[in-house]
């Protein structure tokens, strides 16, 4: 551990510091609003440090080569930090109703975020595993935070299934290590070569498959998505939101890094696998979502479907923009989509929180006529639904455009077709929400108030959906800069 390492890891250290500060403050300060405010304002430090690193560092490794500080990692760090910041704003009203443990709530969220930031940077199997656990354990506690029956169930389910998937992941890592003799992704890449059978050997086939399970669990991919509806429905809504955007983004970060960095030689083998699982996730997620009546459960299936869309970008390994060091279009599409999806899902869940806190119900039918009671909140929710379908001028449209474009260029035209068809199907249940909001008969005309942090969060996320949809260029450039690390590796 050198001084340079400290500098390179300063965002994570700062974030963990903020988390510890929040815990201490919680003991000392009576007003819990102050705790939330410190958690929110404290994020400025890691964000500033990350931005400094982005502008000054091209690609470096830290802590004996286990962590990479490159634009890819920094992109995800900024994304996670931004998500956490908006999340603290948007769930201010929700958390304020907790009788106790508000400080712990914020601290756990921040600790988990630290794990996600590390996850995006790890280049070595054991660090990946540790970061994953650092991410998951606070989340299990958070899922059970409400301590009512369903929340507790959600927490236990998440903990146990997460443990199971971790065990499988670890087993997969062991096999990979045993066969390639290294836990460093770079060295694994050197040891893996295309052979007569998938992944060159049985051991590697089993190892990689088990690792796919571990990450498939994190990103809510079929057939490892069973936990998603129960946990999403039972967990506190801010945590559902957090799981659906930040945790998923970190999962994709490590997935991309492992497969694009360590296993490019056998991309043909895993490319097909991800393409098939992508198609399955889109289809199952969208079809089952149609039958849901609880909006959180519906969005749980929606998130499975979106894992499918994003996997399109992972599968499109062959898609490169023309030129000598062409941009890997799949991963850059993944990064873009994750940001767009984060804005969209945050907006949707914030609106749901704002509405459900007053109506006390998460049933879709109970959202009837909300457009008259809370016009702005309803407008943001409806706009988020349009973005989830992928209708211009929203972020979701641009995201799908880039991902499906990558599929077409990566010789996966069939996958793009499946994606487009399932997007059309998804309109069936997303538009139902819009219809209920605007055309349903409201049982009461009483206005639904919301506090200014929530309004600010809604404005930020809703505005981002529109901004990304109208001016995608800047975000895409950032994404392309981030995935440049994949073009530099010799094929």
């Amino acid at each position: 551990m050198t001084a340079r390492d400290l500098y390179l890891l300063s965002p994570e250290i700062a974030l963990a510091g903020v988390a510890i500060l929040v815990v201490i403050l919680d003991l000392l300060v009576r007003s819990k609003r102050v705790v939330g405010a410190v958690a929110f304002l404290g994020l400025a430090v890691p964000i500033a440090l990350t931005v400094v690193l982005w502008t000054s560092i091209d690609s470096e490794t830290a802590v004996f080569g286990t962590l990479a500080v490159d634009k890819f990692a920094l992109f995800f760090k900024i994304l996670v930090l931004a998500i956490v910041g908006v999340l603290i704003l948007g769930s201010a009203d929700y958390v304020a109703r907790f009788q106790r443990y508000q400080g712990e709530f914020y601290a756990l969220v921040l600790f988990s975020a630290t794990g996600m930031m590390l996850l995006a940077a790890t280049t070595e199997l054991i660090s990946i595993y540790i970061s994953l656990e650092l991410t998951a354990l606070p989340l299990a506690a958070l899922a059970a935070f409400l301590r009512d029956e369903r929340s507790t169930e959600a927490g236990i389910k998440f903990l146990l299934l997460s443990a199971m998937s971790s065990a499988l992941l670890l087993y997969g890592m062991v096999l990979v290590y045993g066969f390639t003799g290294s836990t460093q992704l770079q060295e694994i890449a050197g040891a893996v070569a295309q052979g007569d059978m998938p992944f060159g050997s049985y051991a590697l086939l089993a190892g990689v498959t088990l690792m796919v399970v571990g990450f498939g669990f994190k990103i809510a991919m079929v057939p490892f998505q069973m936990w998603v509806p129960d946990v999403y429905e039972g967990a506190p809504t801010p945590i559902t939101t957090y799981l659906s955007v930040a945790s998923k983004a970190a999962g994709f970060a490590v997935l991309l890094r492992i497969f694009y960095f360590a296993l490019p030689a056998v991309s043909g083998d895993w490319g097909t696998l991800f393409a098939v699982l992508s198609a399955l996730s889109m289809t199952v997620g969208n079809l089952v979502a149609i039958a849901q009546n609880n909006i959180k459960r519906m969005l749980a299936y929606s998130t499975i479907a979106h894992a499918g869309y994003i996997l399109v970008g992972v599968a499109a390994f062959a898609a490169r923009s023309p030129g000598p060091d062409g941009v890997a279009l799949g991963p850059s599409g993944v990064l873009f989509y994750l940001a767009a999806y984060a804005a969209t899902n945050l907006a949707a869940f914030f609106a749901i929180m704002a509405i459900a806190s007053r109506t006390g119900s998460e049933q879709i039918d109970d959202f009837a006529g909300i457009a008259r009671r809370a016009p702005w909140v309803a407008a943001v929710l409806a706009f988020a639904m349009l973005s989830l379908i992928g209708i211009p001028p929203t972020a979701g449209f641009m995201g799908k455009l880039y991902l499906f474009n990558a599929a077409v260029r990566g010789d996966l035209v069939w996958l793009a077709v499946v994606g487009v068809i399932s997007s059309v199907v998804s309109a069936y249940y997303y538009l139902r929400v819009v219809r209920v909001l605007y055309l349903g008969a409201a049982p009461s005309e009483e206005a639904i108030p919301s506090s200014w942090p929530v309004r600010l969060a809604l404005a930020l996320t809703g505005g981002s959906i529109l901004a990304i949809g109208l001016l995608p260029g800047r975000l895409l450039e950032l994404g392309e800069a981030a995935v440049r690390i994949f073009s530099l590796t010799p094929q």
Partner: protein, 652 residues
């Protein structure tokens, strides 16, 4: 020579846009009860500022041979194709900017009086701001895609404004008609853009961007001839729709259902001018295709005569004007087709002023009489002297009487056609000359029926329509309405001199306007001017005989020419053909019925099927989704086995 900065150019577009946002999001929701007048002030301020900036643009483009182009901004990248947005400033843009913002400003001032007390006052100004912004966007765009977006926004705004009084069925129907008919032309425009997209490799190979307008000009020289022709015709199709050229002219007369200032804005400065502007904008492309040029000239020439004939028999003052607009736009297209875009723009420039004047005058007349039907007007000359004088100026200008502005531009069009040579140019010359006679006749008829003779009762005599809303009060309109009339009257008197065909005069060199636009001016021909004036005077004379001195009874003439009259009153039965045969028979009973079947049997069944599948898949998966943790673990394990099994069975 002063220069202009890019933010100033963008401000021209964004000021009216900001006005729209302010009115729509602030004034209308929060201040509409007591301060709705603010909407009008905000609009006027925004458009006024845009007008001043437009003058600055005009000043900056003086003496610039090359268009002032700033590096456009990347908007988004799809694959290897970068779509850029930016501003293209050339003399054509500058002239259009001044016309659009100038006329719009006067119309907004006038609207304060005309729309006073309307419950939709704020909505009206919000739409008008958006409309102005869209049109400015069309004019300023540096990329065809950007232009197309604003083009469609113009279409949308015209829909909103024509249908402004949406509670009236006629207005709602007219708005729909305008939207749908122009859309037919827009398909052509869209196809042209798609064609550019499909052939992007040809452009990229040359280092050109397929959507950049200046690059399209450059590409006109390297593209194969048939490609240029198809592109031009596609773009022209869009122009035909927007500019109401035959055979897509039918929406324009119906569009009179909107508030009269809207008609003035749409028919004078903006929407219809967009079509002519579009052809002028892509003129370097059209120029390379003789087929395209001939098509433009013939469609223009035919429309000029064809629309004028229908104007002969209409009784609704705004409909007379509408057909007149169609006819005048035909003249502009004709000028483009014979290779004289500068002359076309000159006519557009003059027409913008005198036609806006005539429409606003008609609105003023309506304000007093409560009707648009000229059979119930008459004798208004004594009650509304300013309206009368200004409209007389507009009418004489439209008729092309020396020395009003219409005379100069119409004469130049005739001259260009005459000197053009070739069969097509000869043909359109005679069409244009026939149009001069018809125009002079219908516009004189309109003036005599409205202002001369004795008053015939207005809305009260008509006994229906808006009589209740607008009681008859024969007096001059309020000053906010009269002032724009006077300003436009002065412009209609004088705007012809910017062309200055005779010699250097008062700081404006000879042929200034045409050469500013990069055109080559023909020396004036006195004999041709004499002939065209004579023809126009003949038209006026015939109208005098029929409607002033009554030497010839209009009824007797009508009876004598009964078949022709019937044909014209029914607008050549084209509306019936479109609505009865094409839409009714072919579309409703044929295509629509088939699509309805497809919709119900194929699409709905698929939709229902997906929903059914979704619900039952949910039910089918429900036994697995028990909430039992063990079951979830089993599924994960089965997933692993399935993946490994699949690899072993299928290999890779």
């Amino acid at each position: 020579m002063s220069s202009i900065y890019e933010p100033q150019a963008w401000a021209i577009l964004f000021l009216p846009l900001a006005s729209f946002v302010i009115i729509a999001l602030l004034i209308r929701p929060f201040l509409n009860q007591r301060y709705s007048r603010l909407s009008g002030y905000v609009t006027i301020a925004a458009v006024g500022a845009a007008f001043i900036l437009s003058l600055l643009v005009l000043k900056s483009t003086l003496g610039h041979e090359e268009p002032i182009g700033w590096v456009s901004h990347p908007w988004l990248t799809i694959g290897d194709l970068e779509i850029r947005v930016g501003i293209l400033l050339d003399p054509l843009t500058a002239i259009m900017l001044v016309v659009v913002t100038g006329v719009s400003l006067l119309v907004q001032v006038y609207s304060q009086g005309y729309m006073k007390g309307d419950p939709g006052y704020s909505r009206y100004f919000a739409f008008m701001s958006l409309f102005t912004a869209s049109m400015l966007g069309v004019v300023l765009s540096s990329s065809i895609l950007q232009l197309y977006v604003f083009w469609e926004m113009v279409g949308l705004c015209s829909y909103l404004l024509i249908g402004f009084w949406y509670h009236r069925p006629a207005a709602a129907a007219a708005a729909k008609k305008a939207f749908i008919v122009t859309r037919i032309g827009d398909v052509g425009f869209l196809l042209a853009i798609l064609y550019l997209f499909l052939h992007r490799d040809t452009f990229l190979a040359q280092g050109l961007n397929p959507f950049d307008i200046t690059d399209i000009w450059a590409a006109a020289l390297v593209l194969p001839a048939f490609a240029v022709t198809w592109l031009s015709l596609g773009i022209f199709a869009g122009a035909v729709g927007k500019s109401g050229q035959f055979p897509l002219h039918t929406w324009l007369p119906d569009a009179m259902e909107g508030p009269t200032p809207v008609s003035a804005l749409i028919h004078a400065a903006t929407m219809v001018a967009a079509g002519v502007f579009l052809v002028a904008r892509f003129f370097p492309l059209f120029q390379e295709s003789e087929t395209a040029m001939h098509t433009v000239a013939l469609i223009g020439g035919f429309t000029a005569v064809f629309a004028a004939t229908m104007g002969l028999v209409m009784y609704d003052i705004k409909r007379v004007m509408a057909y007149s607009t169609v006819s005048q736009l035909g003249y502009m297209m004709l000028a483009l087709g014979v290779g004289a875009p500068a002359v076309a723009m000159f006519h557009l420039f003059n027409h913008a002023f005198f036609k806006a004047l005539l429409f606003l005058g008609a609105g003023s007349v309506n304000h007093a009489t409560g009707t648009f039907d000229m059979r119930y007007m008459g004798g208004l000359r004594r009650h509304m002297p300013i309206t009368y004088v200004t409209m007389a100026i507009g009418s004489l200008s439209l008729a092309g009487i020396f020395p009003l502005s219409g005379f100069w531009s119409k004469d130049e069009i005739l001259l260009e056609a005459w000197r053009g040579g070739g069969l097509v140019n000869q043909l359109v010359f005679w069409m244009a000359l026939a149009g001069v006679f018809l125009t002079a006749f219908y516009v004189s008829r309109m003036m005599f029926m409205t202002f001369h003779g004795t008053f015939r009762g207005g809305a009260e005599a008509e006994g229906h329509g808006q009589g209740a809303e607008h009681p008859v009060h024969l007096a001059e309109s309020p000053w906010v309405m009269v002032l724009p009339l006077v300003v436009l009257g002065v412009l209609a008197l004088g705007s012809g001199y910017v062309a200055n065909p005779l010699g250097d005069l008062a700081g404006i060199p000879a042929h200034w306007f045409v050469e500013f636009l990069g055109g080559h001016a023909e020396p004036a021909s006195l004999s041709l001017a004499a002939v065209s004036t004579l023809v126009a005077l003949l038209g006026v004379g015939l109208a005098v005989l029929m409607y002033q001195t009554r030497t010839l009874s209009p009824d007797a003439v009508g009876r004598a020419l009964r078949p022709a009259r019937e044909l014209l009153s029914h607008r050549y039965y084209l509306d019936s053909l479109y609505e009865g045969v094409l839409v009714g028979r072919l579309f409703y009973r044929g295509v629509a019925r088939f699509l309805d079947w497809v919709d119900r049997e194929v699409v709905d069944r698929t939709g229902d099927g997906v929903g059914w599948l979704g619900r039952n898949l949910g039910r089918g998966l429900a036994p697995i989704q028990t909430g039992q943790l063990q079951a979830y673990g089993v599924v994960i394990s089965l997933g692993i086995l399935a993946i490994i099994g699949a690899y072993l069975v299928f290999g890779r």
